[in-house]
Point group: C2
Chain length 334, copies 2
């Protein structure tokens, strides 16, 4: 039985091994990615991002439990942890999750720490979701911490992106998050039993208006509604990010959140956005691979000695970085 057959028949050990090879970007991993690629494109990728302290991990756990219990779907969780590029190490462990989801053969959880390059992290995450996709996992939850460029890059991979907030975060943190808010397909206020939930919702709604300026968004029986939208917009199939309240520790609001995720998937398919996102995702993956390959070719063509010699000339201000680049690139095929 080939590796691909093993993966697709549900062999967890083969799956774990392949994920490691993909994470380490080995030749075997690359070859396997080639082979599994025709079997990808079926899973629903759901990104979950938010600041530390919002209870993201509990929320992801509860969503996974919901999908197992009520929809019998096969679930993969990729917990991406781009901790400081300086200290390294992984904060999130798999152990806490294991208590609830352990022993279920249709749930697979994988933590991934930063490998230095943040672009590389998004790339590796994309590759890992392809493995889960080919292995028949129907929903892949990709969890990231924070609001940096890495999260934005990883969110671009997802079909549906959840941005998780919690009451009691200051206005300043929200300002930082203005960028990440614009990638949200669904806004979740977790810990909705805490005080300040109304303030959080009001400020999120204000930011939604900024992000979607042609429309007025207001709260109506717990649903986001559009008012005063220009006629041409109203007739299009526009998605307004709903705001969902949850208390993950008690499991409340999870059914409604799962419904919102399903509604978003339906919207993507009906509007043609699913295919558009898929194409954009594959294009950025292709571009990253092209860039990696070009750099690898360059490294193979130019000796370390020559590179160091030219760098020393730059440091000594004898030649400019541009001149150095031209010298290095012209001298590749002597």
């Amino acid at each position: 039985m080939t590796l691909v057959d093993s993966i697709r028949s549900g062999d967890r050990l083969a799956l774990a091994r392949l994920l490691t090879q993909v994470e380490n970007d080995t030749p075997e991993g690359r070859q396997a990615l080639d082979q599994i690629f025709p079997y990808t494109g079926r899973a629903h990728l759901v990104g979950v991002t938010g600041a530390p302290g919002t209870g993201k991990s509990s929320l992801v756990n509860q969503l996974a439990l919901h999908y197992r219990k009520h929809e019998q779907k096969r679930i993969a969780i990729v917990a991406v942890d781009p901790t400081s590029p300086f200290t390294g190490g992984s904060v999130m462990g798999d152990r806490v999750r294991m208590r609830d989801l352990a022993g279920d053969p249709d749930v697979f959880i994988r933590s991934m720490a930063s490998r230095g390059s943040l672009g590389g992290l998004a790339h590796t995450t994309a590759a890992m979701t392809q493995v889960f996709d080919a292995a028949g996992f129907e929903i892949i939850l990709v969890e990231t911490v924070g609001a940096g460029q890495a999260e934005v890059d990883i969110a671009r991979l997802a079909h549906t992106t959840l941005v998780v907030e919690a009451p009691g975060m200051g206005d300043d943190i929200q300002a930082i998050k203005a960028g990440i808010l614009e990638i949200a397909d669904i806004l979740v206020i977790n810990k909705a039993d805490h005080s300040g939930v109304e303030n959080t919702e009001r400020s999120l709604r204000g930011m939604l208006e900024l992000a979607h300026p042609v429309r007025r968004v207001f709260r109506h029986h717990g649903q986001s509604m559009v008012m005063e939208a220009p006629k041409e917009n109203r007739e299009e199939n526009i998605w307004i990010p709903p705001i969902q309240r949850t208390v993950a520790t008690e499991g409340s609001g999870i059914t409604e959140l799962a419904e919102a995720i399903a509604t978003h998937a339906q919207h993507l398919r009906q509007s043609g956005d699913w295919a558009r996102r898929e194409r954009a995702r594959l294009e950025s993956e292709l571009e990253a691979l092209i860039q990696d390959s070009l750099t690898a070719q360059f490294r193979a063509d130019v000796s370390q000695e020559r590179y160091n010699e030219i760098l020393s000339q730059v440091v000594g201000r004898q030649i400019s970085p541009w001149e150095a680049t031209r010298n290095l690139l012209n001298g590749r095929h002597p």
Copy 2:
């Protein structure tokens, strides 16, 4: 008179024009960067980063005023504003600054908005600091907003990096900032007249201990001191980031901050770190230029039709992204 001579003789109009060409990455801009490069390497690059609301811009203004008044140094300010990659536009204006620093021919202020790519932003910032450096500005203050990867990249350019905090930011925001804290050479608590300043300092000190685990840092007459450091560390020339309190709106603490910046520059030169940072900085600039050039060469070699055709095959799952990359790269020189 050549452009380079004009710049070096203090022609502000020529300088402004060159900065625009560099920001737009025009062929003229690149050529000029080549020509000015031998005159660079003299300025002290000081990065200033921190969340919105910490009063960074006032602090930068006060520092500039201090250097003008007490040290007669020529000062450039580059205000980098990587606002949301989605909305674009610049929040910080030059107008507020102008009130205090207007009319001084030895101060030059330039705002720069994000050009989409964050890597590109760090790259453009580096090029602009080279222009100011060659034009004889002795201190270049580079101000960035937030705590994302862009700030970390830009901080890597600076000889001295100031991370600005303010009392009253929650613990959560601080957790996000653990990464950026590790790039700090000097920690500034601005708005030090606000309540909660003791808490802020305590939490920063705690984070400093995490970032510099071999040493114990405690506060002693307003100075950071080392205790219980292992012998081998005590004998090395190690820099412990001091914590400086300021009230930028009143100008208090600015002299002490300028002293800390000067002490850090002295430390860098004595320890050899100045040369090491310079080399690392030029190497990462060289690598970015090489990558840009490789991509440009690739784009010139491969027609858009061929690229689109191959991308469509990937989207249709006929070939994998890796196969597509190999096809595109092998077919470059037919």
